[in-house]
């Protein structure tokens, strides 16, 4: 999984590309952990280049949200495709963090 990290005044924007699914999410998980450990508080995940996400991917977003919340931070998901917005809505992900579409 390729991934760009853009440092941002308020935190960081992470832009993974490819599927965020059980057999490919370890790289993104590692990167999220690093960012949180490095003190990032406001983290944005840009899903422009992600077509597919499964329950492992959802779990990873929730885990990131949980870690950030603990230290008073915040997760934001942007540029989700229509399919992913529908998945997030159905699985009630909006309860956790803010999500916006393409």
């Amino acid at each position: 999984m390729e991934m760009n990290t853009i440092p941002d005044s308020a935190g960081a924007i992470l832009c993974p590309s490819g599927d965020v699914v059980a057999d490919s999410e370890t790289e993104l998980r590692r990167r999220l952990r690093e960012l949180v450990a490095s003190g990032v508080r406001k983290l944005t995940i840009d899903l422009s280049n992600v077509q597919m996400m499964d329950s492992a991917g959802l779990g990873l977003l929730i885990a990131a949200h949980n870690s950030l919340s603990k230290s008073g931070g915040e997760l934001t998901v942007i540029h989700a495709t229509h399919d992913l917005l529908e998945l997030f809505r159905t699985m009630r992900m909006h309860q956790h963090f803010s999500i916006s579409g393409e």
């Binding site: 059980a22 499964d54 329950s55 998945l87 699985m91």
Partner: protein, 136 residues
């Protein structure tokens, strides 16, 4: 030309890559109506079922195998995923939503929400998913 019926039966070693491999085969053979929302939903269901078979059913055992049958017929897609693991007591689970604060435990909820119907076999090492397309 719309086929009356199309069926694909695959078996493969229980690795995390199995879900991605099976999805690729199913798409390559044009078993899934392309584009939103069906293609995404079907891929999601196949991934959840296969990943559960690999992770919970076979759990890293070397002899773990996943069998997957996909059948398309008159506007319906039927998916069967079976592993050679011990199964589990799905009756005890009941039907409840996942704990919002806990990262895991969303696979079966995805069956409930994205499949038209789903049913485990008695042992709990096999799951049948039915997905109905609107258009067909």
């Amino acid at each position: 030309m719309k086929p009356l019926r199309q069926e694909l039966r695959l078996a493969l070693p229980a690795t995390l890559a199995a879900a991605t491999d099976i999805v690729a085969e199913v798409k390559q053979r044009q078993m899934v109506p392309p584009g939103p929302p069906h293609s995404f939903c079907i891929e999601l269901l196949v991934r959840e079922a296969v990943t559960n078979a690999v992770v919970h059913g076979c759990n890293g055992t070397e002899s773990g195998t996943v069998l997957c049958v996909v059948r398309r017929q008159q506007g319906r897609l039927f998916i069967w995923v079976e592993d050679n693991g011990p199964g589990f007591d799905w009756r005890a689970r009941g039907s409840r939503s996942s704990d919002p604060a806990i990262p895991g435990g969303r696979g079966i909820e995805i069956f409930e929400k994205f499949a038209t119907r789903h049913r485990f076999n008695a042992k709990g090492n096999g799951v049948a998913l039915l997905y109905r397309f609107e258009g067909e």
